[in-house]
Every structure is written in structure tokens, then in C-alpha cells.
Amino acid sequence: METILTWCCDVLRNPQWFYLITTVLKLALVFAVILAFVVLSVWIERRVAGWIQDRPGPNRAGLPLFLLKPFGSKEKQPLSKLLQFFGCPPDGVVARLCRWLRFDREIPTFGLIQPCLDGGKLFLKQEITPKYVRTFYFILAPMLVLGPPLVAAAVVPFASGAGTPFGHIDMCVANLDIGPLWVFAVSGLSVYGLTLAGWSSNSKYPFLGGLRATAQFISYEVAMGLSVIPLLMVYGTLNLQEIVQSQADGGWTLLPLWGEGLSLQRWVLFLPLGISFLMFATCIFAEANRTPFDMAECETDLVGGYHTEYSSMKFASFFMGEYAAMVIGSAMVVTLFLGGWSIGFGADAWLANCNEWLAVLCQFAMFLVKLLAFIFFFVWVRWTLPRFRWDQVMKLCWLVFIELAVVNIVLTAVILYFVH
């Protein structure tokens, strides 16, 4: 026992091994969080869609208690036994509440396991690969859609750093100095997936969808890159961890209410940064291929767009890729504009003084909450706005956004130079 412990300590004391182990752990955490959020965002999408349309949405998928039957339990017995055990009358408030929550039939999950069941269903479905497709690219395409968002997540900081006896851990898988560039570059790769899917399907509608995806992604990438430049000018760094740190110290980009954020300059800068936020959020919508910009899979005119010919798990990976892109897009918006992991109002520094690990936990939770809120915003917009026309999408990008972004950069530079 003693020898094992000392061996572990020795391994951890070696900086290379320490780096490797912590990175693998962080990687596993980020992967788990993203995949969980993919499932969660499907659930949020469907529930919120239901609520907005005055219906409950998927609220029934629970773990039915009749599964217990083979183990000698009748359908409705567990609840009544439980109530008897606690001495509650069978017609009392507690019993009625339990029945309203459907405890007598199932262990309720409020539909949370519905996406998992859907995934299982898709997994078990027949895989149909049409004869006329180009098989290699047809199989490659879903991987190219699902992969990039997961890789892009590497640079997103999910908490500040914390010290251990063996060294400092930075709560970010890869603390690159080119954070946003990495995200744009890697998530831009997913357009190859859509294009290849459209092309290799060898069919009319997927082809049109692929073409649209190509044009839209490339156009909006330009606008997206230009729209964050004011922000980078203000913070003077491309390192996401440092950007978030300065937001924690000096007010979030869109909420400069403490620290340095109360200066005149930051309040004047609110205008270009606000424009920047609007443009960046819109470009993220376009990049994540979400309504109102889901031109590539527009069911009304393109059947299913680029994934028309796909079925079973290949379709599911397109589906997951779309939601993963949405999660990463939200993470980027949260990191750049809404303060990333920072709790705000100087609470970060105070917590870090109390206990570093407690601060890390709180910040991680805060990050997830912000992420969820922005995913909700994604869904909310989806059920508010109708899909744009194709020429409107292109016009919005080339005639409005790019010009506006350039003007915005100039405006920021002027403000930074003159206002202090």
C-alpha cells in the first residue's frame, strides 16, 4: 500500500506525467459534459418547443414500475406500501401529490430519458445505405460533422485554476494563446461534413443542401471572425482563460458593473461590444445550422437537406453534431460575452481566497448554468423566428454584417484611443 502511494506521488511529481494525467481527466470531463449537454439540449428543445406551442412536450418517458412485476411487485403496490410505511393516509395530500407526479406508475424523469430512448431507437433501426452513394465519403461525412465541435471544446475554460501539492491545474483542456482562432478553425471543418454528405449522397436535395451549407458557412465564418475583433481589442489577448479572468475582475463584457467595468471607457465601449454580441450570436446561429439559418436542411424545400439519404446511427451522428455545435457555440458566446465561468461582482476572488477548490466548483456550476441559459435562448429563438429566405441569408451576411463589423472595429479603435 505504502509503496503504491509513494509510486503514485512520484509519478505525479514528474511534471510531464502530472500534465498528462490531469489533461486526460479534464478531457474526460469536457467530453462527458458536452455529450450530456447534447442530450440535455435535445430535451430542452423539445420541452420548450412544447411549452411555446401550448403543449407539454415529452413528459412521459419514465421508468415504468411494471418492469418490477417479475420481481414480485404489482404495478401500483410500491407507492401504497411506501405511503403505509410513512403512515400517510391513502387519500391525503401527500398521496394525491405522489399520484399527480405519477409515482404510482413510474419513476418520473419528466421526459429526461426521452432523448436517450430516441438514441436507442435510432441505434436499433435498420441502416439503409442507398446503392448510388459514394460509400467512403458517405461514411466519412457524419464523423466530420460530429468530430469538430468536440475538438473545438478543448480551449473553452470551464473554471479558473487551482493548486494541488503537485502543481497548478488550469481548468481548460488546452490553454492555447489562440483560443477563438482555434475554435473558428476547427468548427469550420464541420462544413466539410455537410458538403461531403450532400455531395456523396448523389441525390438532388442533399446536393442542394450541401451547396447551401458550404456557401453559408464560409460567408458567416468571415463575419464571425470580424465581429469578435472589437472584443479582442478591448481585452488585448486571444487567450480565452485570460479573457475570462479579466471579465471576472473587471465586469462581464455585457455587464460591466464592478471593478474596472465602471470606468467611462467601458460604458462607451458598450455600444460596439453590444453590436459585436448581436452579430456574433447571429453568426453562431448560422454556424450551428439552427433556425432561422438552417438553410442546409430546410425541410420545407429540401426534404431533409444534406442528411436526406441517411438513416439510423449515421443520421443520429448528424443530429448530435448539430447539437454539439450548438453547445460549443453557446460556450463561446458565454465565454466571450457573458463572463464565462466567472460568478461576477467580485465573488470569484473572494471565493478563491476562502478555498480554491470550492471556487472552482462554484465557477464550474456557474458556467453550466450560463451554458444552459444560452441553449435555452437558442431554442427560444428557434420557435420565434421563421426561416429566412436563402437570398436574405446571404444578403444579411455580405451586405450587412461584414460592413457593420468593419465599422465596428474602427469605432472600437476610436473609442479606445480617445475615451479614457
Binding site: 420548450v48 412544447g50 411549452w51 411555446i52 406551442q53 401550448d54 403543449r55 407539454p56 412536450g57 413528459n59 448581436l278 427560444w380 429563438v381 420557435w383 420565434t384 423566428l385
Partner: protein, 188 residues
């Protein structure tokens, strides 16, 4: 002119900037969301909704009390007030049925029965509920007012062989119907 030119509205600059209109739209959907989560959606009373939004959570709450009198559920055979089987097995329903769900085997009536003039009565009367499309044409075509569509709508089968309803099943579902039919009175 064969077409009517529609005058498109002229958008102001504020409309074209789109942000304000977007905010208004978001406000509308948010209001819907909040109201439906609170269970206060508009016109939920008309739909007799008890749950979220304007939906009736089905197995717990049912439409039964709100079914209209003309609801077309599973077809059934009825008896008259005197307990006589109204069906005279004319087979019109069998011929009209667009889904060919009905099968009638005619039989003769016992001469000692109260209505020997009727001559025929169904020996077998089967409706295949897997074929039935609830169109109600059998009810419409029946000259004897013997077949009616009931308001039974829960037809969940665990076995295909249970889908065919026999004469006994149909009479059990239909029961007796008010109103005297004097047509087959032998003294008439």
C-alpha cells in the same frame, strides 16, 4: 385581370433593423411559454385542458364526457325496445362498407317468433376492427336502424385474432335503442 397585385407593406427603418421586432417576437413566445407552464393558456377551457398548455393528459383525463353526440366510434348492433334484433341481414352494410370490414351470414327467423314476417336475421355478423375505418356508411345505409356507431374509441388489441367482433360482442356494445319499429308487426 386574372391576378390581384398585393400591396406589400412598406417597412420603416426600425422594422428593417429587425432587432426590435425580434424582441417583440421573443416576448410573445416567452409569454406563451410562461402561461402554458403555469397552466393558464388562452382558450384552455374550450379544450377542457387540465395540464400544461391546452392539452388533455390522456389516460388520466378523457374526452368521454365531451364527446359529441355524432361521434363515430366502433360500430355496434342494437336491439329494439321489445328486445328484438333489429338487423334483418339485408347485407346492405356489407356491400356498402368501403373497407370490407363487415361479414354477414344470413339466417332465417324462427316462424314461432313474434315477428315471423321479418323472415331473415343474421346467423353471424362480424366486423373486423382492423379494417373498419369508422366512416359510418353502414349506419347511414341501414334501412332498419340496426347498426350504429358507438362512442367507443379505445380499441387497443394485444392480439390480431381479437380484432374481429362477433355478433354477441356487437350486441353487447350496442344494447337496446329507444323507439319502436312497427314494420315487422305481423298484424300490420
Amino acid at each position: 385581370m386574372s391576378y390581384i397585385p398585393i400591396k406589400r407593406p412598406k417597412f420603416s427603418l426600425l422594422d428593417r433593423i429587425y432587432v426590435v421586432e425580434l424582441a417583440k417576437g421573443l416576448w410573445i413566445t416567452l409569454r406563451h411559454l410562461v402561461l402554458s407552464v403555469m397552466g393558464k393558456s388562452r382558450s384552455r377551457k374550450d379544450f377542457n385542458s387540465k395540464g400544461v398548455g391546452i392539452c388533455m393528459p390522456f389516460p388520466e383525463q378523457r374526452w368521454d364526457a365531451h364527446l359529441p353526440s355524432y361521434y363515430r366510434g366502433a360500430p355496434s348492433l342494437v336491439r329494439g325496445e321489445d328486445g328484438r334484433e333489429r338487423c334483418v341481414s339485408c347485407q346492405l352494410c356489407e356491400f356498402i362498407c368501403p373497407a370490407r370490414a363487415i361479414r354477414v351470414v344470413p339466417g332465417s327467423v324462427d316462424p314461432s317468433s313474434p315477428t315471423p314476417k321479418q323472415e331473415k336475421a343474421p346467423l353471424e355478423f362480424e366486423i373486423d376492427m382492423l379494417r373498419c375505418i369508422y366512416c359510418g356508411m353502414c349506419q347511414e345505409v341501414c334501412p332498419e336502424q340496426a347498426i350504429f356507431l358507438s362512442n367507443q374509441y379505445l380499441l387497443t388489441l394485444t392480439d390480431r385474432s381479437k380484432a374481429v367482433r362477433t355478433k354477441e360482442d356487437l350486441y353487447r356494445l350496442g344494447g337496446t335503442r329507444k323507439g319502436l319499429i312497427n314494420k315487422w308487426n305481423q298484424y300490420k
